[in-house]
Amino acid sequence: MTTPVTAPAITRRHFMITVAAGSAAAAWLAAAPARADKAMVDEAMKALIGDATPADGAEIIRLDLPQIAENGNTVPLGVSIDSPMTEDTYVKDVHVFADGNPRPDVISFHFTPKSGLAEASTRMRLAQTQNIVAVAEMSDGKVYMTQAEVKVTIGGCGG
């Protein structure tokens, strides 16, 4: 997305949030701690996967997320990857990050061949509309990444 498109969208969203939720929400937004951003996600990712450069995993990692979450306090999150899950070939880890939460880390799933399926789900908190990034580490050392946006109507942090 180019800057001329993004900038008005954000302004409009902030305006809408403020109008919809009134001054209490505005005060809360102003007092809210700094949000994570792309750089923080990269840093958190580096802490977990080291210097590996993830390949495009859009065709590999399936992220199960709502397009719109009405309540940011409990947003369903599912990940799944097609893998034979044998001793030779399996998915080791899937790390999930959120680029618009106070801290980017969400969860790391650790699979083993005895998991049988590289699939797991949980529920997470999202402070605002943001991108969810999933990074998968395979038993052969390959690393894949994909992401998806979730629009959040009411944020789920603090308050």
Binding site: P33, N73, T74, V75, G78, M85, A98, N101, P102, R103, D105, V106, I107, S108, F109, H110, F111, T112, P113, K114, S115, G116, L117, E119, A120, S121, T122, R123, M124, R125, L126, G156, C157, G158, G159
Partner: protein, 110 residues
């Protein structure tokens, strides 16, 4: 404490060899994020979450997860385990305060 954080597990009691079983777990826990402020004092409420979940099958960890404050209260976890031999499934939730909440149940594979 043990009563306060009550684990609930939905896992099969019987399975056939090689069957991939879906397991669903839930535990009551506030998952205090450390980001919230006390409404009266205005001070940050210290973080206290379950930071790790583990599923052991006959003593071996077959699935686990590291959780962060972004995980919702009363953390839910659904995952899969491949049935091997009869034995025990054990579920462990590790609290920031060092407590470990657990649940275990028998699994018969035939």
């Amino acid at each position: 404490m043990a009563k306060k954080h009550k684990p609930r597990v939905k896992a099969p009691k019987t399975a056939s060899p090689g069957e991939v079983m879906e397991i669903k777990t839930l535990i009551s826990h506030e998952m205090e994020s450390g980001q919230r402020k006390d409404r009266k004092t205005g001070e940050l409420i210290p973080r206290q979450i379950i930071n790790r979940f583990e599923c052991k099958y006959n003593g071996e960890t077959v699935f686990s997860a590291d959780m962060h404050p972004a995980i919702s209260a009363n953390p839910y976890m659904a995952f899969y385990v491949k049935a091997g031999e009869s034995g025990e499934l054990e579920f462990l939730w590790h609290d920031d305060n060092g407590d470990v909440y657990s649940h275990s149940q028998k699994l018969e594979v035939a």
